[in-house]
Symmetry: C2
Subunit: 414 residues, 2 copies
């Protein structure tokens, strides 16, 4: 069974909002064996929405629509769908009570226009929205299922989890899509492709291999589909193992997980802790580390020493070194990493100091210069890097390189 996702909203077409809903929906449909064939984003105009519906209804059996269901004048999806499927708008008492209830709880006046939020097409099944005022709506046409949901991510997720996914799970069983990933580090995709060329050629046609390169890493993804789930999982894991063995020590993990989670597992296994001293990354490394549930078992904390005086006063970096060499230098990175290890009392530590742009700081180093250091008390290693992108991307590159360096250090590969 194929599905299409239609996202509605001018904010998606002028680049003001990044569409995260589609990825979430796609992942959850995949788990049910439903293949997302197309994703389309259109603006808040009736013609564009109708054209998208016309087209996707011919392409797919399931059409999930998000956006345009709010109480303001730019929200036109609801009356449009009503007309499109030939119904008329009626006030739904259950929705009305729910909307009034929400306004009472939030201590906000219930306005005339909020009444509109309780109006729904009489030809749809209303899907209760426990996270907000706008209900979801399910329409049927020629055996196809069309569901409209609000664009606010957690409202969409609630409606999907409460209604849409259970319904699809019941309706479409017996077909499975399985993904398995391999995370590799330090080699380009051509090199990897060359190394596994014979394995790739022998893959059965119902298992696809994809290469997803990113900074310093390449993710390999195997995707298989079929009717026997157990057999499919066995088979795809066989190929995952075969590929991993061939690729050897460039394999970071046999899962699609972020590197900070790989590091977390390694630390947990060894019963060790880590702390960070962040200058130019400004808390980003710590943020990534604490995105993983259970991080408090190995991550004690960090000092974001954005200004020089914090490096000196909190981390104990020597004033003389800072004065002579500037904040972006090997000795400062080393003193930072050794300082934070002591101050936060951890087994390992990681430090980063650099100039990410657009400004050049004290002018001693070109924009993009970064020093990264790791330490375990006995050994301290520092390396310099140079990145050539903008501030935001340089920060991301620095974070990836720092995490890679920490991972290698913990695994004695540095």
């Amino acid at each position: 069974m194929d599905a299409s996702i239609i996202t509605i909203g001018d904010e998606l077409l002028i680049g003001q909002t990044i569409d995260t809903n589609s990825a979430w929906i796609a992942r959850h449909l995949n788990e049910l064996g439903i293949n997302v064939k197309r994703r389309v984003a259109v603006g808040d105009t009736a013609d564009a929405i109708k054209a998208a519906l016309d087209n996707e209804i011919t392409e797919s059996g399931i059409i999930l629509v998000t956006g345009g269901l709010g109480p303001t004048s730019d929200d036109i999806t609801k009356p449009l769908l009503c007309e499109y499927f030939g119904g008329k708008m009626v006030v739904n008492e259950k929705v009305l009570n729910h909307v009034k209830d929400i306004f009472t709880k939030r201590n906000r006046p219930f306005l005339e226009r909020n009444l509109r939020q309780a109006e729904v097409p009489d030809n749809c099944q209303v899907l209760h929205n426990r996270m907000g005022t706008a209900p979801g709506m399910m329409f049927g046409k020629d055996g196809k299922i069309i569901v409209a949901m609000p664009g606010v991510p957690f409202e969409m997720m609630a409606i999907m989890e409460d209604h849409v996914l259970p319904l699809l799970r019941n309706k479409f069983t017996g077909y499975y899509i399985v993904h398995r990933s391999i995370l590799t580090v330090g080699q380009g995709e051509s090199f990897i492709a060359e190394k596994i060329v014979d394995i790739e050629e022998n893959l059965p046609e119902y298992i696809k291999l994809a290469y997803l390169p990113s900074v310093g890493m390449v993710k390999l993804r195997l995707t298989g589909s079929g009717e026997n789930e157990t057999q499919l999982i066995q088979e795809i894991e066989y190929w995952q193992n075969t590929l991993s063995e061939r690729l050897g020590n460039i394999v970071l993990a046999k899962e699609d997980i972020p590197i900070e989670q790989v590091i977390g597992r390694a630390l947990l296994e060894k019963g060790r802790t880590v702390s960070f001293a962040e200058s130019c990354t400004g808390g980003y490394l710590s943020h990534l580390m604490t995105q993983i549930p259970g991080a408090s078992n190995y991550f004690k904390g960090s000092v974001v020493s954005y200004l020089i005086e914090v490096k000196e006063n909190v981390l104990g970096v020597s004033y003389q070194t800072l004065e002579e060499l500037g904040a972006v230098s090997e000795p400062v990175a080393i003193q930072m990493v050794e300082g934070v290890r002591k101050v936060l009392n951890t087994d390992y530590s990681l430090s980063v100091t650099g100039v990410l742009g657009p400004g050049v700081d004290d002018g001693r180093n070109p924009v993009g210069t970064v020093w990264i250091a790791v330490s375990d008390g006995n050994t301290t290693v520092a390396k310099d890097f140079r990145f050539f992108y903008d501030r935001i991307r340089n920060k991301e590159m620095t974070a990836t390189m720092a995490m890679l360096m920490l991972w290698k250090f913990i695994n004695n590969q540095l």
Copy 2:
């Protein structure tokens, strides 16, 4: 002139990758007065790509395609486009030298398969990719422009900046799209809509108003289009001012900027500094703050006190308080905020301590409980919050609420 964006890659349809390219492209086309009509994402199959091309070529004059240009077998866009536009593949010497050059610089062996990267359709204009090996390609058909670029974001951006945007700028002048935003805080979209209903009704038809609600805030966006840019800007700013005046003190900024930038400007104006003590947000607040260029003028740094002993040893939170009340309590938030202000020597400080889930920590507080405190040395204010989502969303909600609280405190509105 309308444009369509086609993004190619199974990773977009299974939800493994979030599409950030489209937003970037859309923003930059908008600046040239080019309206993005549709965005479509399709998988790595010839049929899906051809169907998308067929459809978008009838809809728009400019079609920008990203993805599927790498050297591995799942990258099928290049030969497909060649065939679609009736050309044949030829080795391009300039591209070949560039690819070889990149491999030499990166100290990687040049493989047979990398030769393929230098093959291009003979019926396209080759667009040099200074950031990577896969060149962009521009095709023409029935007066329409079709450009294919790699999906790696910074490679796509380089090709857009070097070739596509300058070309479009030359070709399509005389039509302008202008956006202006108003950032509001603390009121829902229905309330705002009601308050400005008469102004909204009087907007000329070539100026559209959109409501973009998010956590605790609503962004209003005015979008106008026309041939006289100066007049259009004047007019749209007139409406922006009219709306802002009506909305009064719920207006945070008359720009679409993040709240951390609003805070940064306020601090800069007052010549004041700030520091953070982060527990459950784990560095996220500091990360947001340092995303803004020039943050070092007002943000000194922070202590990410993820574990209790860091709260005690670095921030000076009393052991007795931690023992008696647990880390998620009003006194701890207050001691953290006062501690970090002293340790980092700043005018203002902000602290956050909470339990975001999925685990319940010490079990004293339900998941989602968060204490936030702000201080300027004379006054310290602490408030408790309760969030009901998952770990990641609770972190984002906490960050928004903390920033709002800091902003109100700085502006004497708390």
